[in-house]
C-alpha cells in the first residue's frame, strides 16, 4: 500500500528573492512588491471609484477606521500579549475629546483631531496603567469592563451631553479630505507598525509577550514597555474615534458600543492574527459584509460571532497566513 503525504516547498521565486538577488530582475521585484503596491494603489484609487456609488463612501470610511482599530488590536494581542477586549473605550475617549475640543473649545477640525488623539492616548494609557501587571486573562476581563464603565459613568453623572451626546461637531472641509485623511493615516500606520515591530524597540516589546521574566532580568521595566505599547495602540484608536466624531458630526454613547470592540477582534481572527496586514484585510472583508447584513438588524452580531468562533476553532491561522503560504510555497503529494 502506498502512503502519500503532502509536502510544502518554497517557490523558486521566493528563494531567489531572499537576499541580494531580490533586485536582480523585474520579475523578482514584482513578486516582492506586487502585493504591497496593489494594496497601496488600490486603496488610494478607491475614492475615485466611489463616485459611482456614493452610498458606499461612508461605509468605506468606516471600514478604514475599523482597519486601524484592528491593527491596534492585532499589535496589542499578538505582539505584546495584551488581549484588550474593550477597544471601544479608546474610541470613545478619542471621539468625546475631539468633540469637546471642537464644540466647547471652538478649535477647528485640523486641530481638534490631532489634539484629541494625543491627549486621548495619554488619558487611555494612564487609565489602563493599573491593569498592566495583570496576567492575560485578567487583563482581558478588566479591559472588557472599561467601555461599559465609561457609558454608565457618563449616563449616571449626565456629563458630556449625557445620553444625547455632544452635537454640533464640525465636519471635514471637503469630501476628499474626509476620505483621504483616513486612508493615508491607515496606510502610514500599517507600514509604520510593520517597520516598528522589527526595530530593536519593537523586538523588546515582542519579548514581553514571549518571556517577560527574561526581559525583566535584562534590566528593562516591563510595565514601561507595556505602557508604551498601549499608548501606541490607543493613539490609533483615539484617532479613529476622533475621526468618527467628525464624520458623524456627533459624539455619543454609541462610540463605546460593542461593535468597536468586537469587529476589530473578528477582523484580526479572520484576517490572520500576528500579520498586521491580516487585520486590515479582515476589516476590508467584514465591514462591507456588515453593511450587507444591516438588513438583519442585530442578527449580524450573531453572524460575526459565529464566524469568529468558526475561525478560531477551525482555521485559527486566518486568511492572511493562508494566503501568504499559498503565495510563497506550493504543495504537492509525495510518496513516502
Amino acid at each position: 500500500m502506498e502512503m502519500m503525504r503532502k509536502e510544502r516547498i518554497d517557490r523558486g521565486i521566493k528563494v531567489r528573492t531572499e537576499g541580494i538577488y531580490a533586485i536582480s530582475s523585474y520579475r523578482e521585484i514584482l513578486y516582492l512588491m506586487g502585493p504591497r503596491l496593489l494594496l497601496i494603489v488600490g486603496v488610494l484609487v478607491l475614492p475615485l471609484f466611489l463616485e459611482l456609488v456614493p452610498y458606499w463612501k461612508r461605509v468605506i470610511n468606516i471600514m478604514f477606521v475599523y482597519s486601524l482599530l484592528a491593527l491596534a488590536f492585532d499589535f496589542l494581542a499578538n505582539y505584546v500579549g495584551l488581549v484588550c477586549l474593550g477597544g471601544a473605550f479608546f474610541v470613545g475617549v478619542g471621539g468625546y475629546l475631539s468633540a469637546v475640543f471642537n464644540v466647547y473649545l471652538h478649535l477647528p477640525v485640523y486641530l481638534s483631531i490631532p489634539l484629541a488623539t494625543i491627549f486621548g492616548a495619554v488619558f487611555c494609557t494612564i487609565t489602563v496603567l493599573p491593569c498592566m501587571p495583570l496576567r492575560g486573562v485578567y487583563f482581558a476581563i478588566v479591559t472588557l469592563m472599561y467601555p461599559l464603565l465609561a457609558t454608565r459613568v457618563i449616563e449616571a453623572l449626565n456629563i458630556l451631553g449625557g445620553t444625547n451626546g455632544i452635537t454640533g461637531v464640525d465636519s471635514f472641509p471637503h469630501e476628499y479630505a474626509e476620505q483621504y485623511v483616513i486612508i493615508i493615516v491607515m496606510l502610514l500606520f500599517l507600514f509604520g507598525m510593520r517597520r516598528f515591530v522589527n526595530q530593536d524597540i519593537g523586538l523588546v516589546i515582542r519579548g514581553v509577550k514571549d518571556n517577560d521574566q527574561a526581559v525583566r532580568a535584562s534590566g528593562i521595566s516591563v510595565t514601561y514597555m507595556k505602557s508604551l505599547a498601549v499608548f501606541i495602540a490607543s493613539f490609533m484608536c483615539c484617532f479613529g474615534g476622533a475621526y468618527i466624531a467628525h464624520l458623524y458630526m456627533w459624539a455619543g454613547l454609541s462610540l463605546f458600543a460593542l461593535d468597536f470592540s468586537i469587529i476589530p477582534i473578528a477582523s484580526v481572527v479572520i484576517g490572520g492574527g500576528g500579520t498586521l496586514v491580516g487585520a486590515a484585510i479582515g476589516s476590508f472583508i467584514l465591514v462591507p459584509l456588515s453593511e450587507f447584513l444591516r438588513f438583519f438588524g442585530t442578527f449580524r452580531i450573531v453572524i460575526y460571532c459565529a464566524a469568529l468562533t468558526a475561525f478560531i476553532v477551525l482555521k485559527s491561522e486566518g486568511l492572511m497566513v493562508y494566503l501568504q503560504r499559498k503565495y510563497h510555497q506550493f504543495e504537492r503529494w509525495v510518496r513516502v
Binding site: 493599573p130 476581563i141 469592563m145 449616571a156 442578527f299 452580531i301
Partner: protein, 289 residues
C-alpha cells in the same frame, strides 16, 4: 435594619449568580464568558415552555429548562472549546463570542421589550424585623444557601465531586490517577450552566427577562470572582457580600444608577491592591519559573 436585610438578600443573589462562573474557572481554568447568555437562555426557555405549553406542572418546566441549559453548556465545551483548550486568549474570545451570539440572537429572535416575565414560586410578602420582604426573595436566599451546602457536600463527599476538586487543585496529578480532564470539563461546564439556569429561574421572576440582564450578570459574576479571587469559594461568598452591601449602600445614599459602577470600580480597585483577589492563590506561584 432594612439595609442589612436587603444587603443580605442582594449578596446571596450575587453569590448565586456567580457560583457557576467560579466553578467552571476553578475546575477547568475556563473563563466562561457565555455565563450571562446561559442565564438568560434558561429564563427564555422557561418562559417559552410556560407560555406555549400549557398544563405542565411548574417544577417540571423548571427542571427541563435547567437541563436544557446544562446540555447547551456541555455542548459548548464538547464541540467548540475542546479544540482550543489551553489557548487562553482563544478561549476568552470564543466564549465571549458565543455568549454574544446567544444574547444578540435572542434579542433578534424577539426578546425585546418588557413583556417577558416568569411566574414567581409564591407571591405574597412576609414581615421580618419590621420590613416587608417578598416571598420570592426569601426563596432566593433559601435556594442560595441550600445550593452552597449541596455543592460543598458534593465536592467533598461524592466521587465525581472529589474528582472535580482534584482536577481543580492539580490537573496533572489528577490525570495520572485516571481522571480525564476533558470529561471533568464537560461536567463542570454542565454544572456551571445549570447553576446559571438555577439562578435565572429563581431570580428572574423578580423582574423581567431582558437581554441587558445577561451582560449585567456576566459583569457581576466577573466582579465577584475577581474580587474574591479566581479559584476560591470562600472568596466568592465574601466578595458577594462586599459588593452586595456596597451596592445597597450606594442605592440608599446615592442613587440606583451607580449599582453597576460600584461593581466595576470594585474590580479596578482590587486589581490595584491585590490582583489575585482576597483569597486568590494563584499569583505567588506564578513567579516561580
Amino acid at each position: 435594619m432594612e439595609i442589612i436585610i436587603y444587603g443580605v438578600i442582594n449578596s446571596i443573589t450575587l453569590a448565586l449568580i456567580s457560583l457557576g462562573f467560579t466553578l467552571v474557572y476553578s475546575i477547568s481554568r475556563l473563563p466562561n464568558f457565555a455565563h450571562g447568555a446561559l442565564y438568560i437562555t434558561t429564563g427564555y426557555i422557561t418562559w417559552l415552555l410556560v407560555n406555549k405549553l400549557e398544563g405542565f406542572p411548574f417544577p417540571f418546566v423548571i427542571f427541563i429548562s435547567i437541563a436544557i441549559t446544562c446540555i447547551i453548556g456541555a455542548s459548548i465545551y464538547r464541540f467548540i472549546l475542546i479544540r482550543i483548550r489551553g489557548m487562553e486568549i482563544s478561549e476568552i474570545i470564543a466564549t465571549y463570542a458565543i455568549g454574544l451570539a446567544i444574547l444578540e440572537g435572542l434579542r433578534w429572535g424577539g426578546l425585546r421589550g418588557m413583556t417577558f416575565t416568569l411566574p414567581t414560586f409564591s407571591s405574597g410578602t412576609v414581615n421580618i424585623f419590621g420590613t416587608n420582604i417578598d416571598h420570592q426573595r426569601l426563596i432566593v436566599v433559601g435556594i442560595g444557601i441550600c445550593t452552597f451546602i449541596l455543592l460543598y457536600l458534593f465536592t467533598h463527599f461524592n466521587k465525581i465531586g472529589l474528582a472535580l476538586r482534584g482536577i481543580a487543585q492539580d490537573e496533572r496529578a489528577a490525570m495520572m490517577l485516571g481522571i480525564d480532564s476533558d470529561t471533568t470539563a464537560i461536567i463542570s461546564l454542565a454544572i456551571g450552566s445549570g447553576l446559571a439556569g438555577l439562578a435565572a429561574v429563581v431570580i428572574l421572576p423578580l423582574g423581567n427577562i431582558i437581554v441587558e440582564a445577561g451582560y449585567n450578570v456576566l459583569i457581576f459574576a466577573i466582579a465577584v470572582c475577581v474580587i474574591g479571587g479566581l479559584g476560591s469559594w470562600a472568596g466568592t461568598i465574601l466578595a458577594s457580600f462586599i459588593i452586595g452591601f456596597a451596592q445597597i449602600l450606594t442605592e440608599v445614599f446615592l442613587s440606583s444608577h451607580y449599582q453597576m459602577v460600584v461593581a466595576l470600580l470594585a474590580i479596578i480597585v482590587t486589581l490595584l491592591i491585590k490582583p489575585s483577589g482576597i483569597f486568590g492563590k494563584q499569583k505567588e506561584l506564578e513567579e516561580r519559573v
